[in-house]
Symmetry: C2
Subunit: 348 residues, 2 copies
DNA sequence: GCGGACATAGTAAACGTTTGCTCCCAAGGA
DNA sequence: TCCTTGGGAGCAAACGTTTACTATGTCCGC
């Protein structure tokens, strides 16, 4: 069913129907009403692709994340989608698993659908692709992963603030053997968190023992094996700061299996503050980075860039704050752990 | 950049370019090669909306779920997307929060984008909308929520099998005061699970105490309050079967707060087997309903319906099995709970 | 040497909108 | 009365593809 069909039945031209549909004020209210009633009656829905074709606007934004099954992302997706719908945009979502091949395929599909902007929340963007996108003047916003050379918008995350709070909190609880389980270090965001940890430790005058710094994968499984490595090491930490909440959950799981009590034997702090963090046992003390704010920031970045008459050559920088939220997984260091440890803790 | 541009540079007609792109065998390999090299050189990407417009195929499937933040869904979305991409389809995802208004808006948007099929995994589909969709002969597949009157494809879930196993397992562990926390009972799927529980109890000769059956919301929060109600009741259950894993996590959380030990004081069984279930403390015994299989089933249902020359008037029924997976949250009933209970358990 | 049968490539008409122009008409000013 | 102005509607040309149909050339059999 056509716009022409509607035009015929309402005894007007297609132009008028189009104008009525788009609520363009120059059309006579009487006519508009007639048009609308025909539309209702026939159950007509305009064809988006025809519209997009002629107007040159697809009303689609791309959203590239690494894994939808990572609980950090659904919240973002939800908020992003909600705002998009309010602005009459559709979102084209894709999880790449940080795999450049997937990434490439995804970007190609997005270009073919002529997305009007892309928010990239994952690693693995190749320069070539980026050029392809920039060539087409597609607004881009990276969160925290922008390639240094590219002049695109970027949402910086102020890791330092939250992580410093976390370290200070731990120090105040008299921990000094503080371990850090990072994310995969080829991720810029993981590296940045690690640096923030190192910096904070130094600031506060605590030594960051290299043996207490291990690389994880930002997954529960990664947390389990990383904590395993820590347990195999010579010095036993009294507190662990994790690069994300999933890792922390892995640590908690491993601790459970080993009979290590949290927080009495071990304090754990996560990062991200996914929703689950408050329901985990014990509820996780963690550094919050608001997923909703992140989504909002990203969407607005795209929108402003799109509305700019002269696309900014340099891109804009936004910043998202982080801060510690206290829950149940941290406690004053105990000198006499009650629970049997897997190995004798290296303690004089 | 056009197909015409390509045609000009490759010194062929647009028809030939189109054929080359679509790998239609009637085109001379020499020419095809020439065309492709121009395409590469210019970095041309075909315009999907133009394609869709003339071919009448959008290559988009709609996927309607209730909440992307419910960990049950991301797994489905991931698998669904993966298969879709393999078949050169895009997916248009929407979470409705079981809200008919959102639902309606979503369906409207999907019709406007001319989706070729819709998988519906949420409640709230109005008959009117359904008619709109059916009028346009859009293949539809409901999972477990198909309105009785509509003749559409449906994925039935065999709740009974898994739930019967769960009840039998509990009975074998000598539990007889078994509580059930349902989902919101206006959801057909929640009601079905409850009926499966009731049926299984009767089968095995156990009485299902109405006071031990309470309605939840399929969320952690819901599990917390539902368990609270149970604790306030006269009889204290020794085991709880939950309508989904989130509810079970709520129960575990509440138990933790109340100092009730799982599984020593209370056995808990969930439903769904979300990935998290194995990492929770203790790991959750639960009834598995494979999210990956569900996604595959739904996608294939859409695809077959689409390929059918004469669309089936009645729709096809598919069935997904469920079965119990044993983990750490269940144990033989203990006659002497060691932990102080919030109230004296009603025990002779 | 001619007719037919193929194999290939090109021509041009869709697909369903939006939108720049043009046209008409009524009202107001001189 | 005539001219201007402007509101409001229609005409028709795009948008970037696919594809039915047509045209061309080649090869083969008789």
């Amino acid at each position: 069913m056509d716009i022409r069909e509607i035009a015929k039945r309402a005894r007007v031209s297609t132009a008028t129907v189009s104008r009525a549909i788009n609520r363009i004020p120059t059309v006579n209210p009487q006519l508009a009403k007639r048009v609308w009633s025909v539309i209702e009656e026939l159950g007509y829905y305009p064809n988006t692709q025809a519209r997009a074709l002629v107007s040159g606007r697809s009303r689609i934004f791309g959203l590239i994340i690494s894994e939808i099954t990572n609980p950090f992302f659904p919240e973002i997706v939800q908020v992003f989608e909600r705002i998009a719908v309010q602005h009459d945009y559709e979102i084209m979502l894709t999880s790449t698993g940080n795999d450049p091949t997937h990434m490439e395929a995804a970007v190609r599909r997005m270009i073919e659908r002529r997305v009007e902007g892309v928010a990239i929340m994952t690693f693995g963007m190749e320069e070539v692709l980026l050029e392809d996108l920039k060539l087409r003047k597609v607004p881009l916003v990276f969160v925290d992963v922008g390639p240094p050379r590219a002049r695109v918008s970027n949402i910086r995350i102020d890791y330092l603030h939250g992580i410093r709070q976390a370290v200070q909190h731990l120090a105040a609880l008299r921990h000094h053997k503080i371990a850090f389980i990072s994310g995969p270090l080829h991720l810029k965001s993981a590296e940045a968190r690690k640096q923030a940890f190192l910096g904070s430790m130094e600031e506060i005058g605590l030594e960051a023992d290299p043996a207490l710094i291990v690389e994880g994968t930002h997954t529960i499984e990664g947390g389990i094996v990383a904590f395993g490595k820590l347990l195999d090491g010579a010095t036993r930490p009294t507190a662990i700061l994790c690069s994300n909440d999933m890792t922390a959950m892995g640590v908690m799981r491993k601790a459970y299996e080993e009979g290590i009590r949290i927080p009495s034997d071990l304090s754990v702090i996560g990062f991200d503050d996914i929703r689950l963090a408050q329901f985990v046992l014990p509820a996780l003390t963690t550094v919050q980075m608001s997923q909703a704010d992140l989504a909002r920031l990203a969407f607005n970045a795209l929108l402003t860039e799109l509305q700019r008459e002269t696309p900014s050559a340099t891109g804009t920088e936004y910043t998202l704050k982080t801060h510690l939220v206290l829950r149940e997984s941290t406690r004053l260091v105990s000198d006499h752990p009650k629970t049997p440890a897997r190995k004798t803790p290296a303690r004089p």
